[in-house]
Symmetry: C2
Subunit: 140 residues, 2 copies
């Protein structure tokens, strides 16, 4: 069904449905959150010829279409994930690097307050918190 909506969204704009675009969208859905390089790897398991350049261009396109979004976590690379029901807040551990998701409802009160006091509309799907996860806290 995501393929259907992809095809429709593309057609609306006079763009084309290609195997690469289907595979890349599928990879983002399957992987949860992932960097362009991780998406590339995943896609290559199915279709070896797909170029990293195409991954970048397609992720940008999918973002314009509103099918995926990206967030900047700790290091350099952005991570992409699907748009939709499963939006989440990232908890990124600065020690071990792992990233877990929590229900965005947790930050809703803060988002509401910032909208009231500052007029700033927080994008709840893009929130990341850095810090220390439970395991790493125990070790130190």
């Amino acid at each position: 069904m995501s393929d259907t909506s992809l095809a429709e969204l593309l057609r609306e704009r006079g763009l084309r449905l290609t195997p690469q675009r289907q595979l890349i969208l599928e990879a983002v859905h399957d992987l949860g959150h992932s960097t362009p390089e991780q998406v590339h790897h995943q896609v290559r398991e199915r279709a070896a010829g797909v170029n990293i350049t195409t991954v970048y261009r397609t992720l940008e396109l999918l973002e314009e279409l509103g099918l995926v979004t990206h967030t900047h976590l700790s290091h350099g690379s952005p991570t992409y994930h699907r748009v939709g029901e499963h939006e989440h807040v990232h908890l990124v551990c600065r020690s071990c690097g792992t990233s877990t998701g929590v229900d965005p409802a947790v930050v809703q009160p803060v988002a509401d307050r910032l909208l009231d006091t500052r007029g700033f509309q927080v994008d709840i799907g893009h929130v990341s918190f850095f810090g220390l996860c439970a395991e790493c806290r125990e070790q130190s």
Copy 2:
């Protein structure tokens, strides 16, 4: 006084106090939040010969010493700022790119809750929210 603590921290580790290190720390303090390149520019106004490499190495060192921290905002480059009283949460507008600071107390309740429910200790000095600022919301 920050110079004093810099000197002490360095000496404790057998490291040396150099003009570059003083200038770079000062630049971070003066600039608020800034990228390595911005720090480099600021430092160069006082001492033209300082190399960008040194800026990178020194920022990393200052972070180890606990004098500065960095956050990843929207695009590629990280932004550094001093550690201390003036910690703040960043509100980054995805439309115009501006970044404003708010009192971290705003997210304290969320941080507390995440510590309770997940054991995750949020680093309040590193929080960034993406979204739309008041001005950009009006325009659309």
